[in-house]
């Protein structure tokens, strides 16, 4: 149960405590998903094994149980990801509305295959299953934002606009 201060320093400590406060004391472990999310956001968008174990220690959970969660949910990443995480939905509605074209555009523009990160560390491209925004298919989630009703050209334009060191 130690390590809270190292795991969530400064203001994150308060945030972690606030999240924990949403759950009964004897069910601290219920906070594992939001805390993993917080830890991932503070660590460049991915969760190294030591950080996963630290969250387990913080909640009094066996590290194995936390590692299971990290590998189960596609929102958690156990390997480094780029500054922009481009998640192209490929489930049926998006596919019918042209996700293949969007994905092809992203591949071509970034020069990487799904699952890879550009050498400059700016972009990671992955395919995901339904993002729950089928009404506006095809959908691409980039970091926390949905980009809806895209076509290949718009995908290219977005990548082009976010290339280079100018934006964070």
């Amino acid at each position: 149960m130690t390590g809270g201060a190292d795991l969530f320093p400064g203001p994150d400590r308060d945030e972690a405590e606030r999240i924990l406060g949403r759950y009964p004391q004897e069910h601290r472990q219920s906070a594992v998903l939001p805390l993993l999310d917080l830890a991932q956001r503070r660590h460049g968008g991915w969760l190294p094994a030591a950080l996963v174990d630290a969250v387990g220690d913080y909640l009094g959970m066996p590290s194995m149980r936390v590692r299971e969660l990290v590998t189960f949910y596609s929102m958690f990443h156990d390997r480094p990801v780029g500054r922009y995480l481009v998640q192209v939905c490929r489930t049926t509605p998006c596919w019918l509305r042209g996700s293949d074209e969007v994905l092809a555009a992203a591949r071509q523009e970034l020069g990487i295959a799904p699952g890879e990160t550009t050498p400059d560390g700016d972009f990671t491209l992955i395919e995901v299953e339904c993002l729950g925004a089928c009404a506006d298919a095809p959908v691409v989630q980039i970091n926390d934002d949905f980009h809806e009703r895209l076509d290949g050209g718009q995908m290219r334009a977005w990548i082009h606009a976010h290339r280079g060191p100018k934006e964070g």
Partner: protein
């Protein structure tokens, strides 16, 4: 008590029963992979689907609670079709490599595929393959065969309390992995092999050794710790190939420790299979006739007061009784079964028994562990304590070195001072024990073998009395014996009579040249150096420590080779049965002292096993009540509560779980386990 109908038959079951259990009670078998009675419900294999009338989809019976008026169909066409569908999906990624799989012939998937599998596969795509994992020296993995029932994960998490297995990934990418490659840090890890319903986890030491239908099965009891777990010995061609647990709800439920299961390869090596006689500093093989003559002459020549006998940790009642009778006939007073010098009350059974009984742990509501590490001394008993803690979160405290017991323990201190405080009533844990309806005080056999063992015994008794733990309906004072022979020896009274030496006395007398003849009956857990100058006879099955400075070695049967009675830590006599005859010229333990007596012209009142049993029964009727608990024994005023405490911390009496006896020390598997634990 809801009523439901199963295939048209009315059944009434207890509240909270699941449909699967209700079907079992009605005598209807439901196929399953993930469901296991002693693990939490996962509901992920879907093999147990049944039809509930009026419900559009088939229901998973393992997870569905019974409700009043439910109508369940288990034999309908829909059920058959649903199960066939589940089976087809399970087999999509299963390699179907039964001919080279060790699970073949005892595989749930193979059996159920017979009833629910299609004759031909419709799957034309590539099957997935999963890399194998290293789960240590006991568990072999072929992960492509895994159907993700997660029984192994739940077992390690819930029963073993060592959450080192988990599921990584999801869907088609899911895999079972270990936290650390190379070792599962549990004394119960071997049980995952029994739980695995397919061939993903099989026994590494038994790999490709035999097919199940080639083996003879012998129902017996384990003697490698003091719990007396029920086992089945599987043998072929005079060799034990594996040991599996049997269900015994009163003792081991359906688990056994890894030593009990996997030390048996040690039965085939370093064996004494013929008599040996030391001549001019070297052992010569001799006939039984020559060996017995040498022993008889030496015993005849030794004065009774300079003669002694020690019984070891793996010996059954029969061998001890025969040797004790022979010695008594010779007028020898120095006979002892307490190799480690345990300070048990003489003739006071409550001072050496686990009076609360192992099943009684399920009722305990506060536990005090005194100088014991049950995880190493009796893993199945530790699992029982853990089960109780998981169910109710009872307070558990320990006096002794702090180690991980797989449940939270309040540490009261490493030495016996805390025990003295508890006995005086000045320790805060007294209140917790006092409030408990069923307080349990577990005293380790190692704690009683200290020089101040009698004081510890007395203090622990006082703690139990003060907590009102010794009543007619509950006796919470419980000694945990860590070896199989001890309780039996004490019940038989294999202890020195008036003027005789105990094991410590024998060691000091021998090192001062005060002994002329010593008989070691499987006595290995004692330093043999002291006996260098004494004419020593070693009767046993392995050329282990006790044989080191012996003058005559008499080959005896091991527990898998003879019929013998063992009294477990509760005082419950149980019978071990032979899976095959002993090797070479080795003989059952009881026959050797009887043969010796006959040669010396000493009359013993029996010359058969049945006669010996009658003799034991006449003196100790409860020892003939096989499998039954002994009548309850009162807490008499044993121990020396007023004596001086040593103050030294309690030691870890089982420093290496995997090697505690001649059999496990001879076992290559146990050596590999010890190495894996040390390396990890």
């Amino acid at each position: 008590m809801p009523k439901l109908s199963i295939d048209g038959t009315e059944v009434e079951v207890a509240d909270g029963t699941t449909v699967l259990r209700a079907c079992e009670q009605a005598g209807v078998e439901i196929p399953r992979f993930c469901f296991h009675e002693r693990l939490s419900i996962a509901g992920n294999c879907r093999m147990c689907l049944v039809e509930q009338v009026g419900v559009p989809k088939p229901v998973a019976s393992c997870a569905m609670p019974v409700t009043e008026g439910m109508q369940i169909l288990t034999q309908s066409e829909r059920v058959q079709a649903a199960r066939e569908g589940v089976m087809e999906f399970l087999l999509v990624n299963h390699p179907l490599d039964c001919p080279i799989c060790d699970q073949g012939g005892e595989c749930d998937l193979q059996d159920q595929a017979l009833y629910y599998g299609r004759v031909r596969s419709r799957f034309r795509e590539a099957k997935r393959a999963v890399s194998d994992k290293d789960f240590g020296p006991l568990v072999k993995t072929v992960m492509t065969r895994c159907i993700h029932c997660t029984r192994c994960v739940r077992f390690m998490d819930e029963v073993a309390g060592v959450p080192e297995l988990g599921t990584m990934g999801r869907g088609e990418d899911m895999e079972i992995v270990a936290a650390l490659e190379g070792c599962l840090h549990s004394e119960l890890a071997g049980n995952v092999v029994d739980l695995c319903p397919v061939g993903a986890l099989t026994s590494k030491p038994y790999a490709f050794a035999a097919r199940p239908w080639e083996l003879s099965h012998t129902e017996s009891v384990d003697v490698l710790d003091g719990a007396g777990s029920a086992i089945r010995i599987d043998a072929r061609d005079g060799r034990v190939l594996r040991v599996l647990p049997r269900v015994n709800e009163d003792i081991n439920e359906e688990w056994i420790g890894d030593r009990s299961r996997h030390a048996v390869d040690g039965l085939a090596v370093r064996r004494l299979d013929q008599p040996w006689l030391q001549q001019n500093g070297a052992f010569e093989p001799v006939t039984w006739d020559v060996a017995l003559a040498a022993v008889a002459t030496a015993l005849q020549d030794a004065a009774p007061e300079r003669t002694a006998a020690l019984a070891g940790d793996l010996v059954g009642l029969e061998g001890m009784a025969a040797l004790a009778d022979l010695m008594r006939q010779r007028g020898v007073a120095s006979v002892d079964c307490r190799l480690d010098g345990g300070a048990f009350g003489s003739g006071e059974p409550a001072s050496w028994r686990f009076n609360a009984t192992i099943a009684g742990i399920d009722r305990a509501d506060a536990i005090l562990l005194v100088g014991t590490n049950p995880r190493r001394e009796a893993p199945v008993i530790n699992a029982r304590i853990r089960k109780r803690w998981r169910a109710t979160g009872i307070p558990i405290a320990r006096i002794g070195p702090a180690t991980d017991l797989t449940y939270p323990v309040t540490e009261l201190g490493a030495g016996p001072d805390a025990l003295a405080e508890l006995a005086r009533g000045t320790h805060p844990f007294v209140a917790e024990l006092g409030q408990a309806r069923h307080p349990l005080i577990v005293v380790g056999s190692g704690a009683l073998a200290r020089a101040d063992g009698a004081v510890i015994l007395g203090l622990a008794r006082q703690v139990a009395e003060a907590a009102d733990a010794a009543r007619d309906d509950w006796n919470g004072f419980s000694v945990l014996q860590r070896c199989a022979a001890r309780a039996g020896g004490l019940e038989l009274g294999v202890v020195p009579v008036e003027g005789g030496l105990d094991s410590r006395g024998m060691v000091s007398a021998a090192s001062e040249g005060g002994l002329d003849f010593l008989y070691l009956l499987g006595a290995d857990e004692i330093d043999p150096e002291a006996f260098r100058g004494t004419f020593t006879v070693y009767q046993g099955h392995h050329a282990d420590r006790g044989a080191r400075h012996a003058d005559v070695l008499l080959p005896a049967a091991a527990y898998t080779e003879q019929e013998a009675t063992y009294v477990n830590t509760e005082g419950r006599p149980q019978r071990a049965r032979p899976a095959h005859p002993p090797p070479g010229d080795a003989r059952p333990d009881w026959k050797i002292p009887v043969a010796l007596a006959a040669r010396m012209g000493i009359p013993l009142p029996y010359d058969s096993l049945a006669g010996l049993w009658r003799r034991i029964e006449a003196a100790h009727p409860h020892l003939a009540e096989i499998d039954q608990l002994p009548p309850p024994a009162p807490l008499t005023s044993f121990g020396d509560a007023g004596g001086e405490l040593d103050g030294a911390p309690f030691a870890e009496v089982v420093p290496d779980y995997y090697r505690t006896c001649p059999i496990s020390r001879a076992s290559a598997t146990m050596a590999a386990c010890a190495r894996a634990v040390a390396d990890a």
